[in-house]
């Protein structure tokens, strides 16, 4: 538990350093903006990253509860999943924490037991990386889902208009007409035998 105390003590310096090295993954002009502008709404990227790493760091100290730490990871990864990053670059910020902690604790690492605890901590950081990978994939899958949905939504009304979809059957005078639904039906099942799945089709809407 020595290490946890140390990390708590050095919390603010570690967070600052971690924030800085994450911002260094952006071009210089951008990182200075992301760092200086503190407003939550005019600098949502910088704000989300800072809030995110605070939450992740707390999670790390208190044992990783994936439900609690995931929203913080999600906040950052959701942004980096649509920015100019490769998948590995997008989640690299997790590994940057290892580098920051090693640097900040370089004088203490030699002390009793710390090195061992540090190894455990780094394994926990690896766990965060696994979670991050899952979140990153969810974000990317969402992007493709959005693309597919937009096409589907655009064409649904077109198909409906072209009378290629039976979703107005209940109100349709032709399909509900007695002529269509009597005499021709030899199945003995009564009205509208050909449209027994109409409700299912309507529900698709």
């Amino acid at each position: 538990m020595e290490l946890n105390n140390l990390l708590s003590e050095k919390r603010s310096i570690i967070l600052e350093r971690w924030f800085d090295v994450i911002l260094e993954t952006y071009p210089a002009d951008t990182s200075s903006f992301l760092k200086k502008q503190k407003n939550q709404f005019t600098n949502p990227v910088g704000y989300t990253i800072y809030q995110g790493i605070e939450g992740i760091f707390e999670g790390l100290l208190n044992g990783i509860d994936s439900e609690r730490v995931s929203p913080f990871l999600d906040g950052i990864i959701r942004i980096r999943a649509v920015q100019d990053f490769t998948p590995s670059q997008a989640i690299s910020f997790i590994f940057l924490l290892k580098k920051v902690i090693r640097e900040e604790l370089k004088n203490e690492i030699g002390e009793d037991g710390i090195a061992e605890e540090l190894l455990e901590l780094e394994s926990k950081i690896d766990e965060l990386a696994f979670l991050s990978f899952d979140i990153y994939m969810k974000c990317r899958e969402k992007i493709y889902e959005l693309k597919a949905n937009e096409v589907r939504n655009m064409t649904f009304r077109l198909l409906q208009r072209a009378n290629l979809i039976l979703n107005q059957v209940q109100d349709d005078p032709v399909l509900n007409s007695p002529e269509l639904n009597s005499g021709q039906d030899n199945s003995g099942e009564g009205q509208k035998p050909n449209f027994k799945d109409v409700d299912d089709i309507v529900n698709l809407k």
């Binding site: 260094e24 903006f33 990227v45 959701r78 920015q83 100019d84 940057l96 969402k142 992007i143």
Partner: protein
């Protein structure tokens, strides 16, 4: 001290190897070549559309290819076009000359904020062209080159100009902060024109322009399909309210011509807004008509060239003239209003063959529309509400907690801020504003305007829309907001995907869809469902859905 081993020049020493530099290499912007990344740019126009657009340099090409098949003299064509425009538009020359690089605009662009790409800073995006301007049109740039911030127009520079001209939604948030009033959107507009001169246009823009020129709307809907569409809406309205609305098309001698965005004909949730408009007009007994030839308020010609914008825009007025209406009522559209408010009179004014609009219901004279003869439907509806001409039951929107997204064009290009809010507050009980620095004149763009609402550039749209979505998320978490209202068809098309990615659980609605929910029509049946067929609060058990 240990002696360092001899190693060849450029090879690191062992102790240096452990000091890994996590920083990406940094170069100046002029030396950073543009890299086309999938998800950030649109496909090039097809040869069919390029021909129909009468674009120069007609050939098959793809924005993904290395070779864009430019004519040999592409540089001359580009520079001649630039010279021509510098002569023609004093504003353009001023925008090229007067920027003092104060940086006020730098962090105001939603694309920069969301992407972190410095070339999305408005100042730098304009500098991409300014550097070329200096090289070829100023003495300092010609002789001093880089020292004076000038650079050659190379193939790579041309590609860079294309890449970033299609990463600007022309929303003008940056210009609202510029102390000199430089309109960076106009710089983008001119870059796109210069690129059009080389046949470099995107298909997502070219297709609608071609359709609109031929059939009167972006979707290419022909008259019988327009009739069929409105009939389908009428059938849906009958199901919901028990009332049969009977819109007319191309009816000569009607008092009012109604023009809305065609985006509302096919895609939800725009369709519900269109249905809402039909219901209000019916309830008022308004003497109005649709036109099948002016069945589009939007104008993708505006994202192509001035000439195309001008040509497509006039159809509205040509139809008003042909149908002999008195004035025009315009729907919930975005850039249509910017064109009416800022460009129409220069292009085609004065509109002296129409009458100054007067509401036939309240007698209100719309003096602000004295010149254009075109009234925004929100002005019209707000006036009706103000005079108590609509019976409204806002509790029918109690299932909604609403916030309002100011569309860039109506807010910044016409100062249209209060009317939609007035309407919303009268038709629903739960309205919450987003933070002040994200609404009204400072509103954040949806990230998909100016012809960028395609599917292939989804990542770009998500980046650009992030500042908007971030503000929506704030009111969603704080007040439980579940509906994002707007008055623009591109918003209605683009925001659902944006919400789905950043703030799941928030829907998107046109303002007149909510009016339709609240509108108590004469002789209507008891309403159990809203315009979307969802059960109204308290009516779930009785509902027949």
């Amino acid at each position: 001290m240990a002696v360092k081993p001899k190693v060849p020049k450029g090879v690191p020493y062992p102790d240096e190897l452990s000091k890994i530099d996590y920083k990406p290499p940094q170069k100046g912007w002029m030396d950073t070549l543009v890299e086309f990344k999938p998800g950030t740019y649109c496909y090039g126009a097809t040869i069919k559309n390029i021909k129909a657009l009468e674009s120069p340099n007609q050939r098959e090409w793809s924005s993904k290819d290395k070779d864009w098949k430019l004519p040999e003299n592409w540089r001359e064509i580009f520079l001649e076009g630039m010279e021509d425009r510098l002569r023609k538009y004093r504003s353009f020359r001023l925008f090229m000359d007067i920027c003092v690089r104060c940086g006020a605009c730098a962090d105001k662009c939603h694309f920069f904020i969301g992407s972190g790409d410095p070339k999305n800073m408005p100042i730098l995006r304009a500098e991409l062209l300014r550097s070329v301007y200096r090289k070829y049109f100023t003495a300092g740039g010609k002789y001093l080159g880089r020292i004076a911030g000038a650079r050659e127009l190379t193939y790579d520079v041309l590609k860079e100009l294309w890449y970033y001209a299609y990463q600007c939604t022309e929303c003008r948030r940056c210009s609202a902060f510029c102390p000199y009033g430089i309109d960076t959107a106009e710089v983008t507009i001119i870059v796109r024109e210069l690129l059009y001169n080389l046949g470099l246009i995107t298909d997502w823009i070219a297709g609608p322009v071609v359709n609109c020129y031929r059939s009167g709307n972006h979707l290419g809907i022909l008259p019988h399909t327009l009739k069929d569409t409105l009939d389908t809406f009428a059938a849906d309205i009958k199901t919901i309210t028990g009332i049969k609305v009977e819109p007319t098309i191309n009816r000569k001698g009607a008092e009012i011509l109604f023009v809305g965005p065609s985006g509302d004909f096919f895609a939800d949730p725009g369709t519900f807004t269109c249905m809402g408009e039909l219901m209000i007009f019916h309830e008022l007994g308004l003497d109005y008509t649709w036109s099948s030839l002016a069945s589009e308020g939007g104008n993708f010609g505006f994202f192509t060239s001035n000439e195309w914008a001008k040509r497509l825009h006039y159809k509205i007025y040509a139809e008003a003239k042909r149908l002999k209406v008195k004035w025009i009522l315009g729907g919930e559209c975005g850039h249509m209003w910017r064109l009416i408010n800022q460009y129409l009179d220069t292009w085609w004014g004065p509109t002296d063959f129409l009458e100054e609009p007067v509401s036939p219901i309240t007698g209100t004279k719309f003096e602000n529309a004295k010149s254009t003869k075109m009234v925004h439907i929100c002005e019209f509806t707000a006036d009706l509400i103000r005079h108590g001409k609509l019976k409204l039951d806002p509790s029918r929107n109690d299932h909604l907690k609403v916030t309002f997204h100011d569309s860039c064009n109506t807010s910044r290009a016409m100062g249209f801020l209060e009317e939609p809010r007035y309407i919303i507050k009268n038709v629903c009980n739960n309205f919450y504003e987003m933070p002040p620095n994200t609404i009204r004149e400072q509103t954040f763009c949806c990230g998909s305007g100016s012809g960028l609402n395609a599917g292939e550039n989804m990542e770009l749209r998500m980046r650009g829309g992030f500042p908007r979505a971030n503000a929506v998320r704030y009111v969603h978490e704080k007040y439980g907001v579940n509906m994002l209202a707007n008055i623009c068809a591109i918003d209605r098309a683009a925001l659902p995907a944006l919400m789905d990615y950043w703030v799941p659980g928030v829907g998107v609605t046109g303002t007149h869809e909510m009016v339709a929910n609240a509108l108590v029509m004469k002789g209507e049946k008891e309403r159990t469902i809203d315009m979307r067929g969802e059960p109204l609060l308290g009516k779930e058990a009785k509902g027949d859905v």
